[in-house]
Symmetry: C2
Subunit: 379 residues, 2 copies
């Protein structure tokens, strides 16, 4: 990763994702959507741009982006889908691909994903499949999308058999993370995305976690701390991706909190009752408590993790989640079904301390069960 | 390309497609489907194998392949689609992906395409998209699939906007071309595939074309000449693919006869009235006649091309196609719409002689029109 500032406004941070000939820039800063046209035109002058977005985001940001593209001599065509996870399905995928073809997007043109992770995953897979691959630009508008889903090249849709089971690895040619665009994001969505920001500190960057403990209010408020938090998060993810593009090795660290988290999301029926980042927050707190119980990390670290998540308003225990959830056996079943569990052995991301996470490949199901049972009893 | 015979029956030819770490073997010979199990098990021992096939092929070859897989300790699950181009659509794509997920095909498992080009393209795209890419084996059962569609890694489906507009580049890990499986192929389908065989001679292998002129009856009858024709064709295509995997340069030579051909197929409504290879046969004859008219190649070569295609029973002129077709202006419109025509300039594959094809990037539309008009008048 390199931070280069030349020909950029002082308040814009540039990261470069090093993937050889498919290397690309991530730009982070306020007002970037106003510059979307010149930035894309520099890479693909005169291109047609299919803008895939959802209705919420279109109402707030589409006019800005469209005007910027036109001003730079590009030809935008919006493709608007309904907001929400339901749009990551075969039917909407077909609609988007057909709309991009109707907009005559060809090999030298561009698909622009303007939205949260749903739009990014859907549009990215459409770009990967359209004419077997057209160029793709990410303009993430949720915090989760800016720090996580827009980096790494994973795209896809859901099937009736589960989430993200159909898709492609398709790297963008550019990521434009307009940090000011997050001001229109509902607070609960922002907070949910923040769980992933904290995750990067917990994985391997203890100073970043400590910085977040001091600066989180500024991150929520906007301004330089927000840009720095996004940039540090992106840089972490991009570094892992560059090392391990196809997720065979330590990219798995990014799943910290996600095995517990997915079981809880599934238990809550993947509903608005529990957002992804909220589930990850509970999952990370659990991963640290389980690590402490196993004598891997200090109880103080586990408490410190939970305390910070709680301070920003995130849940940290199963009982923080409204409504009913499966019992311990039900959760164990959901954990076993999780795709990160391969051929019997339970693989978990555990921690030896804040910033010292590791891949534990042989977690004993009995100990896990006992932990979950104890969690249920805990006040 | 290398021809290595070790540990193979004498009547089996092995080609290796050199794509670095994604290099793979193409095996060609009679009875290979009986060995499908051991050959796949050698690469992916114990794997589950989702066999995508169509009803025609299933009736004739599925039992053999399934038994062979089971005998080698693999776990096959058939996924049977309706025969015909209509199955290359979003709806059937979703059905196939869902069926493969229901069969619990995971990252280390295999999708096997058992069928013609339709099944290969559909199953290949499903394999590419399933969990963002699972391994894929081609068991082509039509001549066209054995010499063309199974080599090169192009996979995909059609959209309402046109053919093959949605898909992925996804290389197989193995191609098993059972030359005896072609014995159940309807003669007209065999002949249509033969047009693509002849194409490889016309592109850059004049001795091969001359060999086909002498040996074509043996190719149709089966036996060593058939294997040799398939192997030479595959080797030609594989060499081009290895040089130019993503179709940016001279892979375009493989489109000899295809720009005219596609216009005719479109004109005939992509119906059984005109099979793809039949259209390509007319297209190749036209490409040579147009080249002769332009003074690029000798009239004798153009006559020789048409004579051979005619001898095997393929059409060589528009009037050989039953039913109505668009007039010259209609054909010109269809040619202009063809995806090989980029931004105004007409790109064609023309020839300086048999085996001396080249990419002509600036064909004058007026001369083309005059040629088509003259063709119409010709007896
Ligand atoms: N590809 C990856 O690597 C990856 C990684 C993590 C998550 N994901 C995927 O990301 C998705 C979740 O992403 P998400 O949390 O962004 O969800 P989302 O895209 O559904 O966005 C959340 C909500 O916020 C709205 N929204 C987004 N930006 C807004 C803005 N600036 N102003 C107002 N409203 C806005 C959306 O319309 C939606 O209602 C999931 O489908 C998940 O599978 C993918
Ligand atoms: N991916 C590529 O690079 C590439 C290249 C060329 C063509 N294609 C695609 O290939 C498709 C055409 O392939 P095709 O000509 O094989 O068509 P196909 O798959 O429809 O097969 C033709 C017919 O023959 C039947 N059949 C196949 N094998 C048989 C056998 N051994 N015995 C009896 N019946 C058999 C099929 O059921 C079908 O009815 C088109 O969709 C075309 O776009 C792809
Ligand atoms: Zn996450
Ligand atoms: Zn063809």
């Amino acid at each position: 990763m390199s931070h280069v500032a030349e020909e950029l406004r002082a308040d814009i941070t540039r990261l470069n994702v090093g993937l050889g000939e498919r290397a690309y820039d991530i730009l982070i800063g306020p007002g970037l959507f106003h510059e979307a046209g010149e930035r894309i035109a520099r890479l693909r002058p005169g291109a047609r741009v299919g803008i895939v977005t959802d209705r919420h985001v279109a109402e707030r940001h589409l006019a800005t982006v469209e005007a910027a593209l036109r001003a730079a001599g590009l030809t935008p065509t919006p493709v608007i889908v309904e907001p929400g996870e339901k749009s990551k399905c075969f039917r909407v995928f077909e609609e988007v691909v057909d709309a991009l073809l109707a907009a005559r997007i060809e090999r030298r043109d561009v698909v622009l994903a303007l939205g949260g992770g749903v739009v990014g995953d859907l549009a990215g897979f459409a770009a990967a499949a359209l004419r077997r691959g057209v160029d793709f630009v990410q303009a993430p508008t949720s915090l989760l999308a800016q720090v996580d889903s827009s980096v790494g090249g994973k795209t896809g849709i859901n099937s009736r058999h589960g989430k993200n089971l159909v898709g492609a690895f398709h790297q963008p040619i550019l990521v434009l993370a307009d940090s000011a665009a997050l001001d229109t994001l509902p607070l609960r969505e922002f907070r949910s995305g923040y769980a992933e920001v904290a995750k990067y500190g917990l994985i391997d960057n203890a100073p970043f976690f400590a910085w977040l403990e001091r600066k989180w209010q500024e991150v929520f408020a906007g301004g330089p701390a927000r840009i720095e938090a996004i940039a540090t998060s992106c840089a972490s993810k991009a570094a892992v991706v560059a090392r391990d593009e196809k997720e065979t090795g330590d990219r798995a660290l990014l799943n910290l909190g996600h095995t517990f988290g997915h079981a809880l999301e599934a238990g809550a029926g993947f509903s608005q009752r529990l957002l992804h980042g909220e589930a990850v927050a509970v999952g990370m707190a659990q991963a640290f408590r389980f690590s402490a119980r196993q004598g891997l990390c200090s109880p103080e670290d586990a408490l410190r993790v939970a305390a910070h998540l709680k301070t920003v308003g995130l849940p940290t225990r199963i009982r923080d989640i409204p409504g009913d959830l499966p019992d311990t056996d039900g959760l164990m079943d959901l954990i076993a079904q999780d795709k990160k569990v391969s051929r019997g052995a339970l693989t978990f991301i555990l921690a030896r301390g804040i910033g010292r996470s590791f891949i534990a490949r042989d977690v004993d199901p009995a100990e896990l069960r006992a932990f979950l049972e104890a969690e249920r009893g805990a006040i």
